[in-house]
Amino acid sequence: MPSPDSAVRAADLVVKFGGRAVLDGLSLEARTGALTAVLGPNGAGKTTLVRCCTDLIRPASGTVQVLGLPAGSRQLTGRIGLMPQSAGSWSGIKAVELLNYLAGLYANPLPVPVLIERLGLSDCAKTPYRRLSGGQQQAVNLAGALVGRPELVFLDEPTAGMDPHARRATWLLLRELRASGVTMMLTTHAMDEAEALADHVFIVDRGRVTISGTVRQLTKSGGTLETVFLSHTTARAAS
């Protein structure tokens, strides 16, 4: 199936929880083959956006197209990888068990032993998930999102909890994925991550996009991405 130009196209999304608008007319497009970063403070609606794209939340209004199809379409089965913000794993399962299980859901999975080696998980492959360090858990989560060889991967704060070595190794892997033709949409608080990786950045605040562009476009007036972020978002309590 030929890929559309936009891997993700969200238009005027509105999602309300308990009467409060979490997404308030959010619109964005993520280009096929690119790495798109969605930046925003806690509670800005980043995770809710990802959940709309994966059909876990149905918006009150607005539309989401994923790989040219409405979110949740049967034809999307297996084409999307997700690295959720929370663990995404049973606490008692061993890392290698989880990855073998996930690989078994696909017809052409990545070879699990090679994936484990590539992500530096060889020494802890037989450790129960709950006993892994935060960075190791994130690496397992990332492996779980990639094992099915998806076309599009959603990465919800992929390097949270990783040490600088692990972060750099993950960035390298994400660049390899992009070079291999995988489209990625990642949410993050980390400005350096967006600067290092993103082809296009959307800054989201209070459920809508406040500014977007390439890092170069956003910082052309001389500021850093962080100053752009601070001037286009509002401080609020974590949610």
């Binding site: 959940r51 994966t54 059909d55 876990l56 939340i57 089965t77 297996g78 084409r79 999307i80 990888g81 997700l82 959720p84 913000q85 929370s86 663990a87 995404g88 794993s89 049973w90 606490s91 008692g92 399962i93 068990e97 299980y101 996930l102 078994g104 859901l105 696909y106 017809a107 052409n108 990545l110 070879p111 090679v114 994936l115 080696e117 590539r118 779980g144 990639l146 099915g148 060889r149 998806p150 076309e151 390899e176 994925l177 291999s180 033709g181 995988v182």
Partner: protein, 252 residues
Amino acid sequence: MTALDLSPAPAPAPAAKRIVRHGLTEARLLSRNGEQLLLALVIPLAILAAGRFANVSMSLDLLAPSVLALAVWSSAFTSIAITTAFERRYGVLERLATTPLGKSGLLAGKALAVIMIMLGQLVILTGAALGLGWRPRFTALSALVAIVTVILATATFVCLALLLAGRLRAESVLGVANLVYVILVVGGGLIIPVSRYPAALRPVIEALPTAALGEGLRAAARGLVLVWPVLVLLAWLVAAGLAAWKGFRWTS
């Protein structure tokens, strides 16, 4: 280091393979969990042993099918409610819903895991009860009705468990599921025959799905066929199924 070909090549495994894979994984994880084993086997075996060797005013004729009903209740309700609530909290449901397993495959795989765990329980507990001297008098018809009753009860309890797990925080589910488990074990006609409760309470208790399961199995094991438990369970299944369908939330 071996090179990794990261180029996209998405394709789902066959649906049956996905469901079996999930069922086996979940059953293995459940069987490793000490608390689940306590609920699934240790408590029912202890009740059986107490009924045989302690001075309990209930014969094995009544106690053995009651304990089988208890096993169904613990696996299909308490165990499923608690594990699903934590799967929701930890993002397991969120991840799996986006894999080729999908939401419907996840439910089918979960059902398969419950069936495997329950079959194991029923075989072990039935074997233990027979060893202790239980001599059931099932007829072909009463055995068939007992199987239907167990299937309906399992489906009902799983729907109730999913409703609970899909609405409350995981810690709340842990407390509420255990509390409901104990309350209905004692007061829900599951182990104690409805005829032993005060007359004024009996109509209320008979309307509970736990009593329907307990009474249905106790009667079937004595070769009798009761229709009302099947009807009660059908009504509960429709209500619980609709509520779970509308109320279940995949994320926390």
